[in-house]
Amino acid sequence: MDVEILSRVQFAFTVAFHYLYPPLSIGLGVALVIMEGMWLKTGNPLYHNMARFWTRIFALTFAIGVATGIVMEFEFGTNWATYSRFVGDIFGSALAAEGIFAFFLESGFLAVLLFGWNKVGPKLHFFATCMVCLGAHFSAVWIVVANSWMQTPAGYHLESLSGGETVILPAAHVITEGDLGTVRAVVDNFWVMVLNPSSIDRLTHVVLGAWMAGAFLVVSISAYYLLRNRHVDFARASLKVGVAFAGVATMMQMVSADTTAKGVVKNQPIKLAAMEGVFETVPFTPMTLFGWVNTKEENVIGPKIPGLLSVLAFGDPETPVQGLNELPSDEFLLTRHPDTPTANLAELRKTYHPPIQPVFQFYHVMITVGVALFGIVIVAGLKWLRGTLFRTDTVLRKAFLWVLVFSVLGPQIANQAGWFAAEMGRQPWIVYNLLKTSDALSKVVAAGHVLTSLILFLLVYLLLFAAFVFLMTRKIQHGPDSAEESEEMPESWKRRIRLKSAKA
């Protein structure tokens, strides 16, 4: 196997593993703010126990998130050195901002959140919880901005450093092999770079996906306690918070999904065509609900709704969605490969397509799971209104709670599938239309090195995951403390909380 494949696999594996945890931290962060806020407002010890219990779960996800996150930062340099040289001027500033504004905030106040129950007052503790939550969101901001710049570069120009002199290159400059390591992208306008065409859409989409991950975790564990008839009061209260939070996040996500997809139509039509499996450019472009891409015959087998894709993309069934057979354009191909005979263009075009089958499937998995989660929160909401959500007296009601228990996997699957669709859909580019992934590798790293580190990561992460699942199960089995105990709240807190509840 060559360095390119191994480095791609290693990065995909380590980032996918890492991404199991940050969404939980972001989503649970919001849930913690809600729970502790409700406790401070009502003085009800049930909420205190909720905040305590979910903080313990949060701590676990956070620790693994940090440990696996350092790997990501190192890998840009270790495996993708040419990429790092190319984007350092742009990507680096986002990464530095992430460190200074997000990570310090998050990890600093986390100490107070986890260990400060007996050291600071309730208000300061709540403030720390809010700061941890804010820090988690900031960390999403900067990394998504950097990634969005790779999807839709803006606010930059290219310059060449060869021979010790800096030459500003024209906007239309095409990077050739000789440019690698000497040509780099540099910032023209920081805010145009940060607010590049896909930043806001993708950031919203990612954060909502994270909220869903956190919310459905709360839903899942609470439903489990109800089914097991344990910690029932706690489980009801938690389930209410979880379902409400999941409902809001999922509804918003539906809107965000639509906006994000429209952005892809505009900014990365090739990616959209691959995600939807569109080959021919025809009016009334159909949308395939699920199916299998036949890359040889260039069609998709599966149920289609005529015109739906055109409607979703442009709000008009007649406007055709561009297909892979004319993307990228002949003009684009001829600037990169002048003197190509017209007959060869079709073959050449395919080298600029992402792997269509996986992009199509990942995208459809994300959509399907997203819609399923939407259905689940609607049903849960209705059952809540009718008062049957918390009951376990019939098989059907139990069955629905079991659905909720397993719903925790939904956002995780959708988040992973969504990222795979987004990142594979960008191929063959690492920076869209500028730098190819295959040109972005470290020049001095040999396949053997990457294979070694890949095996090392596989083993370590397997162990890590086993330990995580084990400890998570233990924490869930242990459960929250009972309301009467209201564990170890210092006297001063109790007094203040009691005053508060007496007033209310």
Partner: protein, 340 residues
């Protein structure tokens, strides 16, 4: 030496890595000493002395790496791809360590705790050692090709000089961690830790002296620079004096002062190194003309300027709440329900 943006970022990156050494240094040191604690309670006290702060400390590494990437992408790319194997091992060590802290006390079983104790300790020692080895190579110089790529091999990185700095770093962090523990413990455990400190100081000072001697022999370019910049000598001398102050403070039972001296000693060593190494970021040997400097390996003035604004806004905040957090968790470590 004019005060341009490149220079400011040279200093800032240095400050971040020095901050990392001072902060994560003591918790790596606690890890190094961990297995020497005999009872379960003592080990838990060790872990909990760093419990609230260790991941904040690790953020200094993340931010230092991020700042290096942002300000000097060529250095980041060359070093990280060139030092591939040691850095991967460093990552694995740091992961093991983090996981061990988190998981160790979650189960009462002896084998479970022993397994994570060993993982925590080996992870800490290995991390400190690898940081030292990487640093040793940076100081001594590494082969850099004209295309700015690393031209050396992994085996060549394991040269005696770098290995010695690796051992010295382990000793330094162990001493630093020992002093920290003496500050954070009391009673019987504090007596035990106090008993270790003279030995730890002795080991470190021996390593430190050997390392300085080796530098004279092994790094003629460092020697030449010091001759050309004689004003570096007072900084070095001050560093040595501060290090010598540590046993004095310990002798008088003033652990906090000893810890402050240890921090200041690290700061001065890094300062002396920075002053000598400037304007290089990665010295090339045998072809010094290929060296990466703060000018030929930097981002644009625009990016350095933007990041300076970010740093000016962010760093005071970071320092303020880091100080607050250390203040909140001041005093002796106690085991509570939330402890590791």
């Amino acid at each position: 030496m004019n005060m341009d943006l490149n220079f400011i970022w040279f200093v800032l990156v240095g400050v971040l890595f020095t901050g990392y050494a001072m902060l994560d240094g003591f918790d790596l040191g606690v890890g190094t000493l961990h297995l020497f604690a005999r009872t379960d309670e003592h080990r838990r006290l060790f872990l909990n002395s760093i419990g609230p702060v260790w991941d904040g400390n690790e953020v200094w590494l993340v931010t230092g790496g991020g700042a290096l990437f942002a300000a000097f992408p060529e250095v980041y790319a060359t070093v990280f791809s060139g030092f591939y194997i040691p850095f991967m091992l460093l990552l694995v060590a740091l992961i093991f360590r983090a996981v061990a802290i988190e998981f160790r006390s979650k189960e009462p079983w002896g084998w479970w705790r022993m397994m994570w104790d060993v993982a925590f300790s080996i992870g800490s020692v290995l991390a400190a050692f690898l940081i030292g080895v990487a640093m040793g190579n940076v100081v001594a110089g590494v082969p850099i090709r004209p295309d700015r790529e690393f031209g050396g091999t992994f085996l060549a990185m394991l040269n005696p000089y770098a290995l010695l700095l690796g051992v010295t770093t382990v000793a330094l962090f162990a001493m630093h961690g020992g002093i920290y523990l003496a500050m954070k413990t009391d009673g019987e455990l504090q007596q035990i830790v106090r008993g270790w400190i003279p030995k730890l100081i002795g080991i470190f000072i021996t390593c430190y002296m050997c390392f300085n001697m080796m530098t004279l022999i092994y790094c003629p370019h460092i020697l030449d620079t010091v001759r050309a910049r004689p004003w570096i000598m007072p900084v070095v001398a001050l560093g040595v004096l501060i290090v010598m102050n540590i046993p004095r403070e310990i002798h008088k039972g003033r652990e906090f002062n000893a810890f402050a001296s240890s921090c200041a000693g690290m700061g001065l060593m890094m300062a002396a190194f920075g002053l000598t190494y400037f304007p290089n970021m990665l010295y090339s040997l045998p072809n010094p003309e290929n060296s990466l400097t703060i000018y030929n390996a930097a981002s644009t003035q625009k990016t350095l300027g933007i990041m300076l604004i970010i740093a000016v806004l962010g760093v005071p905040l970071v320092l303020a709440y880091t100080a607050c957090i250390y203040y909140i968790f001041r005093g002796k470590t106690r085991l509570t329900a939330q402890s590791y």
